[in-house]
Each structure stands twice: as structure tokens, then as C-alpha cells.
Assembly symmetry: C2
Homo-oligomer: 338 residues x 2
């Protein structure tokens, strides 16, 4: 399988590391050989070689700050932009892992259309294009007979979408509710130990959990974007961000935390979606709810089903290798079925 990676930050590098370190095992256990033929970054160069790039040298070059450090070899192209790479390369699959823009989905959305229009399967860890154009992307993929996979957009590599789509096939899922943002869960967990919101946020920023501008996380929009994707997967009707009732955690006070503690409850930012709509809201959960026990940067989701009752999956919600694995699991899925 020939792979073009658009965006070569944490996730793209995580995927490259896994492909480098696990090549023999992927070959023997899954008859899978992944060859990175193209890599595009916005400001750190691009590379294309139809016979494949050397993954170790690729990681070394980006480690030095620019793909220009990749050694020159016969047949290498350095000056194509992302869209040209997607259209003109011989990749079988385009992996879109560039930064997320929830308003426009761009520039990734154009990359996605270009991939599907040039006959390439598409794997995303970037939520933006799906939040903006879930149905249009699915329709184009369907008409072209191509796969569109995005396990990494919700809870990174923890296989929440595959659980719903494949493992629970045959059940009816009436509701999903979860802790879909690690930053806010970390902050709420720390506030539970007595820190103020501002102190907990600072700590999350020091540890790299929260961005310098934490608005998307703490105001609930990151979790809301994941609900848009979940509503499409579970109910076939992707909601729009503006359809959701979204509240963040910025208004929670130490007094609120203490009141919950005394009632034997915990504050969690709960994202919830049903066929009727969705919401993101801080809620007090009793300790008997499996989501109440999910602490720190961990994420979790509960599916409410007719035949199985509630099924809860708990795991990492972010991370270099975890999200890299999400992309790999999509590549393996495409490999199995094509």
C-alpha cells in the first residue's frame, strides 16, 4: 500500500514511527506492507518518490526541522505542493493529518476532495473536513467506490467508531455519551483535588495537555466536533456544530466541586448525542456511572444499546502513537477489504 501523508506533525510522525518499527510484524501477521511515497507539510517542505521514501531518513529530516534535510536520491521530487502530491502521486491512500479548522475544514477539505476525485482512499485524523462536509465526503467516496476512514478523529486510537460500526452491528444504538476531551477532564480532575480553574488550566498547559489558546477545549467545541462525527456514524445524520447545545467548563467554581464531592458525585464534561440531537455540558455524575471514574486525560464513551444494555470503552483520547495507531488501524481495514 502506497501512502501519502498530508501534514507531518505529531500524528504523521507517530504513524511513520509505527510503520518503521513494526514493518516485519505487519507483514507477517497481516500481509501488510505500507510504503510512504509522499509527505507534505505547510512550511517544512514536501517530498515525493514513486518508489517510496526511507522512513528512518524521513523522521531524521523532520527531526532536524525541515524535509530539505532528506538526502537527495534519484527520482525524488521536492517542490510539489500538497494538492499536486495528492493528485499526481501514485499513492493508493491519502492520510490527512494536518491541523484542524472546525470553521472551514480547510486547507484539508480540498485535499480530501482531491484524494477522492483522483481515486485514492482517504484516512483522516483531522476532524475539520468531516465536521464541515460529512455527507459530501461520504457521497463522493461512495460514488467512487473508495473507503473513507476516520477512527482517529474520536478518542484517537481507542477504537470507538469501529466498536459501533462493526462490533455492535446488529444492535440498535439509541444514545452515545462520553468524555471526549482529555484537557477538560484533566482540569476537572485537578479541580477535584482543590485547585481553582485557573490553577488547573495552568497545570494542563505546563504538561502540554492544553493549548496556549485553550478555547476549543474548555468551551466544549472540540468535544462538540466529535459529536458531529459520532452522529453521522451512529445515526446517519451528521449534525452541524450550530445544531448542538454546547457549554464548557469555564464557569465551574470550587464551590460547585465541593458540592458534588459532598453528594458523592463528580463533575464531568459530558458530550451526548441521540437521533434527536446533541449537547456538550458539564454534569454531576454519581460514582456508579462508569464515566464518573474516568480521570485525568483519559477519555471514555458509553453506547446505550437495545440488546446489550450499556457498553463503555475507556482509553487514551490523544497521543502520538495512539493516534498513529488509529491511522494504521484504518489502513489495515482498507487493506483487508480491498
Amino acid at each position: 500500500m502506497r501512502i501519502a501523508i498530508i501534514g507531518f506533525g505529531v500524528v504523521g510522525q507517530g504513524l511513520a514511527e509505527i510503520l518503521r518499527d513494526r514493518a516485519a510484524e505487519l507483514q507477517s501477521a497481516h500481509n501488510f506492507h505500507g510504503e510512504i511515497v509522499a509527505v507534505a507539510t505547510r512550511s517544512r517542505g514536501t517530498l515525493y518518490h514513486p518508489d517510496g521514501l526511507d522512513t528512518a531518513q524521513l523522521l531524521e529530516a523532520i527531526g532536524k526541522g525541515h524535509l530539505g534535510h532528506y538526502p537527495h536520491v534519484y527520482g525524488l521530487t521536492r517542490n510539489w505542493d500538497a494538492l499536486t502530491l495528492v493528485r499526481q502521486s501514485n499513492a493508493d491512500v491519502v492520510v490527512e493529518v494536518s491541523p484542524t479548522d472546525l470553521q472551514t475544514g480547510q486547507p484539508a477539505l480540498d485535499v480530501c476532495y482531491a484524494a477522492l476525485d483522483s481515486g485514492k482512499h482517504l484516512v483522516l485524523a483531522n476532524k475539520g473536513p468531516l465536521v464541515v462536509a460529512y455527507e459530501a465526503l461520504h457521497e463522493r467516496a461512495r460514488l467512487a467506490g473508495l473507503r473513507l476512514c476516520f477512527e482517529g478523529t474520536v478518542m484517537a486510537g481507542t477504537p470507538v467508531l469501529r466498536l459501533a460500526q462493526q462490533d455492535l452491528a446488529g444492535c440498535r444504538i439509541s444514545e452515545a455519551r462520553g468524555i471526549l476531551n482529555g484537557t477538560t477532564n484533566y482540569i476537572l480532575t485537578q479541580m477535584g483535588t482543590g485547585l481553582s480553574y485557573a490553577e488547573a488550566l495552568q497545570q494542563a498547559q505546563r504538561l502540554g495537555y492544553a493549548e496556549a489558546n485553550p478555547a476549543a477545549d474548555v468551551e466544549g467545541w472540540d468535544a462538540a466536533a466529535k459529536l458531529v462525527i459520532l452522529s453521522g456514524v451512529l445515526f446517519g445524520t451528521p449534525l452541524a456544530l450550530h445544531d448542538l447545545d454546547v457549554r464548557g467548563i469555564t464557569g465551574i467554581t470550587p464551590q460547585d466541586m465541593e458540592a458534588a464531592r459532598q453528594a458523592g458525585e463528580r463533575w464531568k464534561l459530558i458530550a451526548r448525542v441521540t437521533p434527536e440531537g446533541g449537547s456538550v455540558r458539564p454534569m454531576r455524575l454519581p460514582l456508579s456511572d462508569p464515566l464518573a471514574a474516568v480521570s485525568g486525560a483519559t477519555n471514555a464513551i458509553t453506547y446505550v444499546t437495545d440488546l446489550l444494555g450499556s457498553v463503555t470503552l475507556v482509553g487514551a483520547g490523544a497521543g502520538r502513537l495512539s493516534t498513529g495507531f488509529a491511522v494504521l488501524s484504518d489502513l489495515l481495514d482498507i487493506h483487508r477489504t480491498s
Copy 2:
């Protein structure tokens, strides 16, 4: 897909109910049509019709206590025993859901061999044959090019085996630990509210969670049998029951419970397996462990992986529809891949 059901108790009837109530949806969403052609019970009769049995009438007959109440129709055979049904019927898949014998695996084990030897895929919710002959069954299925599925043997329909085998493919799982027996978890949860072991056991028996003879549950053997199956699935090396270090919950006192409570911990019967071996033991878990929050008859498993860290699945561990769904999910899997 023509199905022979061997054993028509809670699980077999749950499967029949699902097939009856969800026929249209299974057809439209999965292009799946399941037709029950044969049903065998040990003491309540057997039925075979090569064109299929009427599921509603089947459930009505067993509801009256004996399959003899099924109406006589042209082509119906009533006097074949289970092995004859398995060998001579036109079923594509044999579903073995008769009672479990962890010592001999019988009489189900002979049913399993007969199914594979006569070219039929095999789905089990009965642990016995796998605990006794995991490798022999897999080898026969492999040689015959047949599927051997058993999602329902561990945590009923909660898809723990599919999670490990399919969703986490590409990760290395180094350890599984879980709460794999609902009866003991219910008893421990009740003891946590101040009941003695004897009182909690009685309550579990009144509610139907615990058998009149609760030894297999409370002494840990039910959980141990599930570890045998998990070790085969995860590591390819099924342990034998006698290889495991198995302790139950019968020795836990109210004083033990109180000591854990004061330390902010909870007693759980933890089944754990690694490539080196397995154990079932009551353990005190800190509340930060996702397994500590799993209460009542609910089950859970944590897989420790290299790329994703820990992934925990929480859900029902038993139940008519839940285990019926487990069998259905295996049937759908066989349908997709054959």
C-alpha cells in the same frame, strides 16, 4: 444461512427471539437471512426441517415445555438426536449453546467435532469445549477451512474478543485483566454495603445471579475458564485450567471489606493473563483503576497495549439477549467473510 442450534435454553431462545424480531433489519442492513433448520435439547425434544422452522412457533413450543408442541408439518423430523442433526442436517452453521462442563467439555465437544467434520462452521457460547480442546478445535477448523467463533464465551455479547482480535490488530497486547464473573462482582458489591458473604450470596441466589450450587462462580473457576479462552485468543497459547492460580471470594470477611474502604480501595475478583500465565484472585484496587468502579453484575476487561496504553471495555457479562447477540454477531461475521 441455515442454522442448527444445539441446546435451547436461555441463550438459544434469546438468539431465536432476536432472529424473529429483527429479520427485516438484518436483511436490509446486513443482507443477512438466518433460518433455523434444526434445534436439539437434551430432554425436551429435537426438531429438523430442511426448509427451516417457524421461529415464532418454535418459541411457543418450548414455552409450553417441550418441542413436541411444535405443529406437525410436511418434511419435519422429530426423532434425530443432536449428533445426527449436526451430521445429517443441511445447516451451514452449528450453534453450540448447551450447558457448560469445564471438566470434559461433553456432550458439547462431540457436537463440535461432528460439526467441523461435516463441513459446518461452528459458533459457541459454551466454554466447555474450548477449555478442554482449544487447540484441537482450532486445528480442525483451520484444516477444513471453517470458521470457529465464540464471542459469547467471555462477557456475553460485550465484544471483548472482537476488540482484541480485530479492532486492536496492529497493537501488541501484553496483558489482560478483568472482572469476568458477574455473580462474584455482585456479591462483592453487596458486601461493600455491609452485608456478610453469606447474606450477599443468598441475595444473589434470590435474584437469579448465583446458581443453587455457586461453587464454579465463587471459587473462581468460571473466570478461570474465560482466562483459558483469552490466553488462546491473545497469545495463541491456551493455558489449561490446572495451569492457573485460582482463588475465589469465599474467604473475604467484613473486616477485609472495611479495611479496603478505609484505604479508599475496593475488593474485586480479578482474572489476569499474560504470556507467562494466569491467575484469578481477589484484589484490592485503588479507585483510580477503571475496574474498581465496575459494580453489580457488570463485567469489564482491561487490555494493556504498547501503542494505546490501557483500553477498558465495560458491559454486561451475561443475559439472554446479550448472549444471544454474541451468537448473532458471530453469525454476521461468518456471513461477511464467506
